[in-house]
Symmetry: C2
Subunit: 364 residues, 2 copies
């Protein structure tokens, strides 16, 4: 029997229920800006050594919670574990991004793809179980995956890309192959997230990190359609609790209303979106997560507080005039930079918690 | 006395006047995908050797017009000539992007900035005069500059950037310094574009290539406000002809209505924007330019034609039911890739011209 949750503000905001303050967590909150993370990573020997070892993954997942009063934990892992389990051979060279030894570039490679045996991802599910135990009810744990399209970008390009030339060439020249990859990815991601939920994830997030590079029309057919398939297959309750699902499309602001209709409980927004305008459009149907520019964290603490307050004020008091609640989960609009001064994050957390309490008091 | 213009379709579309077909040109149409460009560049020795020599600049500007029935020429130059003239020391290392020897990173460096002597940019104005002469009225010539914000990004970062950490750190920590840079840039860009118009540019374009990386709110204050200042200072007629001004903010789709109100005649759009929706919002006030994903050009010619037709159909027949005209200039949503097969561009030009004539016939 898992420990009772001591801080459920994050889950409540996701489900558009009343909250005492605006909960916050930070994408990539367990990461290289923290000296203690770098120490653990050094012991693990490599990023994959860290990510595939449940004890290490538990240790680094909890590190930011020791420093900051964050309202959620997120599984320490990588968005590319699924294609790695498909046999594409993921590695992280020193100082570089991810790379696949066997990128998917032709019809034969596409035909060889299949939903991976979830046993190959056991280390992830074991980490979820271990983290839940270590959290002991402190805050909820978020599981995650890359979106079908974002995984396809890496699978075809074989690495990060500036122009997405290879994956878009396949998309425009051989849409049949692209749809086949995406269908397999959607089934894989759904199975992967459901297994994380079984292991104890209390919310799940789909990172459509590269949806925003697609053309209007192509985004709907090649990214959003497959995210929708994933969401439709998710187990949405566990032990009587609703498991919120967050969908975040970086650069997806133009498609907000379509994304908000994909079945997710929460839509993540980057900093280009006006949060107040987004709330007016879709806030009565989904909660919103975001959307501070992570570069704000390089400015002095008073500027960090000022910009955080501007984000909260843009959303406004979450309780509506009719007494119902809209949901806002504070976050950055992208992962926190490795160059962030850790003490600036303290200023952010303090500003979000205190100002959001003032907003609620003023809104009454 | 300059030669009379034989093809004014581009200027007419910019000014929302009747056209026989949808005019097109391609950002970076004189570039590395053309073998003849690479041959000239090899003779010039370097990119700056090419850009600073009016004879070479004229030669490469006209090259794409020999191959394709494009409806406009664009000055061959670089967006960073203005900060180079400020004394920051622009160079292009082999296989890399631009780099400044003296980036602007502190208060002393900002205080040392001033609007450059336009005589240092004489090579650009000489190129404009030379190209106009060589064009001999074939198609109009477009001059251009980077936007104040986009120039500031390079000036502070010292080179291209993944995260814009340095320039955004200054923006959030020392907005006073950033505003000072932007004011100087706006005055410089206005003087630069006016000198291009004096030399013979028949339209001008402001490339706000990095406006889309800014947060909502910051975009309006640090990018759009200074683009507006530039547009307000432009000479808008020459020899009795209106000089259209195009503003292109890559990633600016969310701010379309604000950008359309900046005083420009034409707003450039990238491929993430739904062209039909954009026309419905602002098409009666400005012409629109764009917006094919340049990666479409890697697909076979039939796919190129199909996607080009989809863009034209999204805009729809430019003549409205009341007989008035909206303006569409076909373009890519970003510069053409150096890896583009040149014969695919032929398919694009053919598809845009023939389908847009069909659209006009069907619309009657």
């Amino acid at each position: 029997m898992p420990a009772a949750l001591q801080n459920d503000q994050f889950l409540r905001a996701c489900l558009r229920q009343p909250t005492d303050h605006t909960p916050l967590w930070l994408m990539r909150q367990a990461g290289r800006y923290l000296p203690e993370y770098n120490a653990t990573r050094a012991r693990a020997g490599s990023f994959m050594g860290l990510a595939t070892n449940p004890a290490y993954a538990t240790e680094v997942t909890l590190q930011p919670l020791e420093r900051y009063a964050l309202d959620a934990a997120i599984l320490f892992s990588d968005i590319l574990t699924v294609p790695d389990a498909m046999g594409l051979g993921l590695s992280f060279a020193q100082g570089e991004g991810p790379r696949f030894a066997k990128p998917v570039r032709d019809e034969a490679a596409v035909n060889a793809l299949a939903v991976p045996d979830m046993d190959k991802l056991r280390y992830v599910f074991d980490a979820v179980t271990s983290i839940r135990k270590a959290l002991n009810g402190r805050v909820p744990l978020i599981g995650f995956s890359g979106s079908p399209w974002t995984l396809a970008c890496y699978m075809v390009e074989g690495a990060g890309s500036d122009d997405y030339r290879l994956v878009k060439s396949m998309l425009y020249a051989r849409p049949d192959l692209m749809h086949r990859i995406l269908a397999i990815n959607a089934d894989s991601v759904a199975a992967y997230l459901n297994a994380q939920i079984d292991a104890g994830a209390q919310a799940v997030m789909v990172f459509d990190s590269w949806g925003g590079v697609l053309a209007d029309g192509a985004f709907q057919r090649f990214s959003l359609e497959y995210t929708r398939r994933v969401v439709a297959k998710l187990q949405r309750t566990k032990d009587g609790q609703r498991i919120p699902c967050i969908v975040f499309t970086k650069g997806g602001g133009l498609w907000l209303e379509e994304i908000a209709a994909c079945g997710a409980d929460v839509v993540g927004l980057d900093w280009t979106v006006n949060l107040g305008a987004a709330r007016a459009k879709v806030g009565s149907r989904v909660a919103l997560q975001g959307n501070l520019d992570p570069n704000v964290l390089f400015a002095p603490p008073e500027a960090v507080a000022r910009e955080a307050i501007a984000v909260l004020d843009s959303f406004g008091p979450p309780q509506r005039a009719d007494g119902s609640w809209d949901g806002h989960v504070f976050n950055l609009g992208h992962g926190i930079s490795q160059f962030t001064p850790p003490e600036h994050v303290s200023a952010l957390v303090e500003a979000v918690h205190s100002h959001s309490r003032r907003l609620r008091a003023a809104g009454k």
